[in-house]
Symmetry: C2
Subunit: 304 residues, 2 copies
């Protein structure tokens, strides 16, 4: 495993790709298919966690960890944990009883490639594994830091975070009258909490002072919302070929989104404003945070 | 919260009931229903985790912790965590794509009382919360102990434990030719691993020496198998009224079970043998382990 970190002035695209490669290699080493009938669930876990993807959250962990000179080995453990949680959430979100999606990242979803029971279990297995990874001594020499990461990830992923946001989202489908405040809160829970964990994990690993940690939290908050607005815009303007998943589903479901409430133009300028705000939170870090600045621009300019 | 522990000679039934009350009170305090649409998932989590039940696993945690003079507050945290994982596994196991069960502990299952999407999310939320509970400072003053519990629970619950066993179990339905060795391994994964965690958690919290920990592991292993054989016998001889869930499902599904392979009489004597073995592992603890001895007899004599 490389211990090298990204030089000042490193290309964002190069760093994002490297983060994806490092994360996938670590997940590949972690998810060894056992003998016995239980092999099937691990195959499904691999299918989900190693699916093509940007690995934006692992990148955010590695880039934020580098601000505090955290070793790559430690940072990669947290990066893997957050990607496992993200992967699990997609597997369960795609299930027939949830979003009922057959296509994800251009491939059949897990319940289509395997079956529904295997998809439920694979999601459960990925979520469980994330906590095993964080609790491992490789994550940090100080067990208090590992416990803090376990607690933070559980809060970000649980009923007061992502799971709560998914519940909110399902109920929101029956409430097209929801206003911008409600949709903002929904997205903060559903996607924002895990993105915030990704940005803060580096600060936790580096035992960063409170002001720097708050700066990353502010960055993550604005980034998460900008990311979601961009997602809503892609659902309206993107193509299934580009995004690798069905588009136009929000409008078809009559769901309130940033775009349905604000209109595409105002949504676009709101996303741009959030990116400027996100970047402003990084001033304290000077040029060492350039990769995170680039990431903020990337999330609203992406096509997938 | 009481800090009192059970006196030597305490009644097993009384201790089991007290463990259930303490656990339910702690879960009740933990699962506060929030405002907002996400309230629904927390209501479902409460419905699942506070459903009527024996709370055998929390009892095993408290009784094993008492062997090492672990404080009730610490032990109760681990007891709650294991019960949350047990509750989540039942919610997902009952889903239409899994066992498709409408009745659990005499009440509608979560996907019947709520809906399927809420049941999936409630299970996810319970599993996530278990790790948050273990990582909390209330569980133990030493974060290394908390990390060890997180790692152990993740291993017991994940693809190399319970989730793997559930996968194995689903595939086993298509393989009625499985022999006693395969069924033993299946049950060790599916129910044995979490029972073993329950018995070992007290030793971890008490930083017990290896020989005592191994003794508890041996006890848990035999107890878990005896428990499962008793479950199979109840599926054949029990009534839905007594067990609170449909019976005769294994035979109807053509599943290989301890009873289908050994016959009811040999299964019964095998369970009795395992109880004697389980109890023998406790010799080191003398009369201080009487409650655990009683628990072993209870699991094979129970009617529910």
């Amino acid at each position: 495993m490389t211990e090298a970190t990204w030089a000042t002035g490193a290309s964002f695209t190069g760093a994002l790709n490297e983060a994806a490669k490092l994360t996938d290699a670590a997940i590949d080493r972690l998810l060894v298919v056992p003998g016995g009938f239980e092999a099937r669930v691990v195959e499904a876990m691999r299918y989900a966690a190693l699916a093509p993807g940007k690995r934006l959250r692992p990148f955010l962990v590695l880039a934020s960890a580098q601000l505090f000179s955290v070793g790559r080995r430690s940072a990669l453990q947290a990066a893997v944990a957050v990607e496992l949680v993200h992967a699990y959430s997609l597997v369960h979100d795609d299930l027939p009883a949830m979003d009922d999606s057959d296509l994800r990242r251009g491939r059949p979803t897990v319940h289509k490639a395997f079956d529904e029971a295997t998809a439920i279990l694979a999601g459960d297995g990925l979520l469980t594994l994330a906590f095993e990874v964080l609790s491992h001594a490789d994550t940090h020499g100080d067990p208090a830091v590992r416990c803090e990461l376990v607690a933070s990830l559980a809060q970000a992923a649980g009923a007061a975070g992502m799971v709560g946001g998914q519940m909110f989202d399902l109920i929101a489908e029956e409430h097209p009258e929801l206003d911008i405040g409600a949709i903002t809160r929904l997205q903060r829970l559903k996607t924002g909490a895990l993105i915030a964990f990704s940005c803060e994990a580096g600060a936790v690993l580096g035992k960063a002072p409170a002001d720097l940690r708050m700066a990353l939290r502010g960055y993550a908050h604005d980034l998460g919302l900008a990311f979601q607005i961009a997602d809503d815009l892609l659902d309206v303007h993107g193509s299934a070929g580009e995004t690798g998943k069905p588009v136009g589903r929000d409008a078809a479901a009559g769901k309130a989104t940033f775009v349905s409430i604000l209109g595409a133009d105002r949504a676009q300028s709101q996303a741009a404003l959030l990116v400027r705000q996100a970047v402003a939170h990084l001033d304290l870090f000077k040029e060492r945070a350039d990769l995170l600045r680039d990431a903020a621009h990337f999330v609203v300019d992406r096509r997938t």
